[in-house]
């Protein structure tokens, strides 16, 4: 257990204390206590930047289950550190924002901060774990805490719906990912990611390699809201806005990106990885941006825009992975996609975080997030307006904001796809820049919608619940910090280049590291007149046209009927699953004991008959059987007649007496077969049983008047004949093939020598096998007590038990 481990689990430790802080310091907003931790953690993680810059990594191991190879190994490299800084940095800003956002008196702050800290710790664990099982453990903790946070206002139905939906989808992906991890373990015999990477050349041809790849991508795609699993993200917007800003823009949804980046050294270079990651990514980017324009809720727009931007990062990671297959051209011609992915990851966290906070402020100050009700807020909220412009323009990819740089690099990497000649890209490569360009136009349009529909146009005070005014300064601090970062990263992108981006690239595509163990990246705000710039100009031109004529082509969204959307499909699938499983259960769980008995007997017949046939077990031999005596034959006939009488008796008295006759013939059989003790006991027990039946006779239920005879049922007859036949067949074949001799010669020889008794049966009962007898006595005692209490203890209605 090192300091690093303590840092990772410190949010959990603080979460334990939060309820006490909440209870005993009611006058202070609990968030202030929480705020200290992410700030400290951020400062702690900053110091690793210089270590990573020199190409070094840090590994600390704490034993957990060493015998299974599962240990809490914390591993800091460029990629893990980048995420850790995002988590703690944005975490601190979100906590600060939430202090002003959530009311101290009206909200349950203790649960909020417990969940938030759980999430923060789980997220740190995901990005800093080297062990697959530990990673998975933290992964599921993020799903769980996200579920709790989305359902924070649990009295609202939509919150519960959104929480359940995100839970089902992310846990579905998480479980598949666990399957992928197990497959990796089966191939490499280790859970450590770094050790797996060293074995990659041996396993690429393994039959389980591609299944593992697909299963792990399932986990990444569900978490990162890729098509078609993005549907949970818009519904997760029911969470409080700080949660949306933190989880659903900056951190949790990037866990899937992290997984793709982390497993790139293992899987990239294969066409499957390239095609799945980039094709789904680029399509998700288009689909998200296309649908974002349709939304009328500000958070809805941001949710779809997050989906779109995540798709963009994903596609760049996919394209970057192809660089491994092409190692002839050096100097980062193809690796620019990976650089751009990491750069945009940071940029997206900054501008999307600030935009969510802006939307939270608007919601907080006006009481609505619906763009149809908002408008003309510019003069009321100048600071919020400025932040919104910075965030939205950066998202649209305009200078002078950081989104411009990563968008240009995105275009660069997409146009270079055309020049790739691997994985059938000669034919399909051209699709990438085209889809990317179209998606960027939609991105531009919805970014403009966010700003101009909200802050300009006609002010509609009659539709607002509150009189709008500027937010308190405390609420503005966090978005201001993020917005200034948006600026700073544009003018000084190279403060990130060699501190953060380059070490992260070294983790994603380590096999392409040059001789000096460094990538040479250079990001400049201005790169001359080239294709990318003209693409951006085209985006702006078409975007402006598209935005201004939005009302004219909006009807295009009505083309796809509501019924065919993925959400409706999900709802219907869930409903059908529920309904059909209930129908199935109702079909066979009838509540009639007779049906259950019929199932049991039928399975009994099928199972035994099949195994008799399969093993060819039936055998019939006359040899070795005892001869049939006249007495036995007569007695057998008596017994069969008695049995049949029971079956066909009309009154219960006949049935009871016929049952008695069968019992007495059984005891006569015992006499004939030389079993005096059995005969004695059977005679006695049968007498007592019949007496018991007769004792209850007066109270016993009459066989129903209207159906005196047992009603005939063909299925029942078939089942019972089947059982009887199977038992007979089993008895015959067991009798015909005896495996070994009886052990009873021992009892016969020793019952007098060792036990001093001449009645062998009694000696066996009380001496050789006395334990049986002890517990048989116990059974009888329990039965007697049970009968007594059943008769004596009665709880009447309305009485205490």
């Amino acid at each position: 257990m090192s300091l690093l481990h303590v840092a990772i689990i410190s949010p959990f430790l603080l979460a334990i204390l939060v309820p006490f802080l909440y209870k005993y310091f009611r006058t202070i907003h609990t968030g202030w206590f929480v705020l200290v931790l992410p700030v400290l953690l951020f400062a702690y993680f900053i110091q690793f930047v210089s270590t990573n810059m020199h190409g070094e990594t840090i590994t600390k191991t704490a034993n957990w289950i060493p015998s299974l190879g599962i240990n809490f190994t914390a591993y800091i490299d460029g990629l893990g550190l980048l995420f850790a800084l995002l988590i703690t940095g944005i975490g601190a800003l979100v906590v600060l924002y939430s202090i002003y956002y959530l009311s101290k008196d009206k909200e349950q702050l203790n649960t909020f901060y417990v969940y938030l800290l759980m999430f923060m710790g789980a997220m740190l664990g995901v990005v800093l774990s080297d062990n697959l099982i530990v990673l998975y453990t933290f992964w599921e903790l993020t799903s769980l805490s996200s579920f709790l946070l989305i359902g924070y206002w649990y009295t609202r139905e939509k919150s519960r719906y959104g929480a359940q939906k995100s839970m089902l989808i992310t846990i579905f992906g998480g479980l598949l990912m666990l399957g992928g991890f197990v497959l990796l373990y089966m191939m490499t015999n280790t859970f450590s990611i770094r050790e797996i990477i060293t074995q990659v050349p041996d396993i690429t041809q393994h039959a389980l390699f591609i299944p593992a790849l697909i299963l792990i991508l399932f986990g990444a795609f569900t978490k990162s809201a890729q098509f078609p699993f993005y549907i949970w993200l818009p519904d997760a917007m029911e969470a409080p806005t700080p949660v949306s800003a933190y989880l659903h823009s900056a951190t949790m949804v990037k866990a899937g990106i992290y997984i793709v980046a982390r497993f790139s050294p293992i899987f990239s270079g294969t066409p499957e990885w390239f095609w799945i990651v980039s094709a789904f990514g680029i399509f998700t980017m288009f689909w998200g941006s296309f649908n974002a324009v349709k939304q009328t809720d500000l958070k809805g727009i941001l949710a779809f825009s997050t989906v779109s931007q995540l798709g963009m990062i994903m596609s760049m990671l996919g394209v970057g992975s192809a660089a491994i297959a092409i190692d002839s051209i050096d100097d980062g011609f193809y690796t620019v996609a990976t650089t751009a992915a990491i750069f945009h990851l940071i940029n997206h966290a900054t501008f999307k975080g600030s935009l969510f906070m802006v939307v939270g402020i608007i919601d907080h100050e006006t009481g609505t997030r619906d763009i149809r009700k908002l408008g003309g807020l510019m003069s009321f909220m100048p600071i919020t307006f400025t932040i919104a412009i910075i965030g939205a323009f950066s998202m649209a990819g305009l200078p002078p904001f950081n989104g411009f740089l990563s968008k240009e690099m995105f275009f660069t990497s997409m146009t270079r796809v055309v020049e790739m000649d691997v994985f059938n890209l000669e034919a399909l490569g051209l699709l990438f820049p085209i889809i990317a360009w179209v998606a960027s136009i939609f991105t531009f349009i919805y970014s403009m919608v966010i700003v101009f529909k909200t802050f300009t146009g006609k002010f509609q005070p009659e539709k607002l619940k509150k009189k709008p005014h500027e937010a308190p300064i405390g609420m503005l601090i966090s978005p201001i910090i993020l917005a200034s970062l948006v600026f700073i990263f544009f003018f000084f992108p190279n403060i990130l280049a060699y501190t953060i981006i380059e070490p992260a690239m070294a983790s994603v595509i380590p096999s392409l590291l040059g001789d000096d163990k460094h990538f040479h990246i250079h990001i400049t705000p201005w790169h001359g007149f080239n294709l990318e710039l003209f693409m951006t100009l085209g985006v702006i031109a078409l975007g402006v046209v598209g935005y201004l004529s939005l009302s004219k082509w909006r009807s295009v969204y009505g083309l796809v009927p509501e019924k065919l959307t993925l959400n409706k499909g999900y709802d219907r699938a869930l409903f059908t699953l529920d309904k059909s499983s209930s129908t199935l259960t109702k079909f066979y769980m009838t509540g009639f004991i007779r049906d259950y008995l019929a199932y049991i007997f039928t399975f009994f017949i099928i199972l035994l008959a099949t195994s008799l046939i399969i093993t060819d077990g039936f055998e019939f031999q006359l040899a070795g059987t005892a001869p049939i005596g006249i007495y036995e034959a007569v007695l057998a006939a008596v017994m069969v007649i008695g049995t049949i009488t029971v079956l066909f008796s009309k009154s219960r008295l006949t049935a009871i007496i016929a049952l008695g006759s069968v019992g007495y013939s059984l005891s006569l059989f015992f006499v004939l077969f030389r079993a005096p003790d059995l005969a004695l006991t059977q005679l006695l027990v049968e007498t007592v049983s019949v007496a018991l039946f007769l004792l209850c006779f007066y109270h016993l239920p009459e066989f129903k008047k209207k159906e005196k005879m047992l009603r005939f049922k063909l299925t029942n007859l078939i089942i019972s004949l089947g059982v009887g036949t199977i038992v007979t067949l089993l008895a015959l074949s067991a009798n015909s093939q005896r495996v070994s001799e009886t052990i009873s010669t021992y009892f016969i020889e020793n019952s007098y020598e060792l036990a001093g008794g001449k009645n062998m049966v009694n000696v066996i009962l009380v001496d050789f096998r006395g334990f049986d007898t002890l517990f048989e006595i116990t059974v009888l005692g329990i039965a007697a007590l049970g009968i007594y209490s059943m008769i004596r203890l009665r709880v009447r209605k309305g009485e205490e038990g």
Partner: protein
């Protein structure tokens, strides 16, 4: 002999199962009674029905019948007696309280929708 007994056991099992599948609680109890008779007879038959003296050493016979199945059956008889009597009283009590012995009417009412 064993073959004849196997057939008798088959008849007992058939009748027992047929009764257990009926609606009346009393018939089910009678069915279980027949089933235990069948089982006891089956154990005895499978132990071998070779002629020999009863398992009493005082007989001074050259061969005895197998004493072990007899001990097993004795235990089984007592246990099935205990269970049957408990079951009988349970049926009697449930008839008294619920007023029916029709298994169809005794089905569970755990309908939750």
């Amino acid at each position: 002999m064993e073959i004849l007994m196997s057939l008798v056991v088959g008849v007992l099992f058939t009748a027992a199962v047929y009764l257990m599948l009926s609606k009346s609680l009393l018939r089910i109890i009678i069915g279980t009674g027949l089933l235990s008779h069948g089982a006891h007879l089956l154990i005895l038959t499978m132990g071998g029905l070779k002629k020999g003296a009863a398992p009493l050493l005082g007989e001074h016979a050259t061969s005895y019948v197998d004493p072990l199945p007899q001990a097993l059956i004795l235990t089984a008889i007592v246990i099935s007696f205990g269970v049957t009597s408990f079951f009988l009283v349970l049926a009697y009590r449930s008839y008294q309280e619920l007023g029916t012995d029709d298994m169809d009417q005794l089905r569970g009412n755990d309908q939750y929708e």
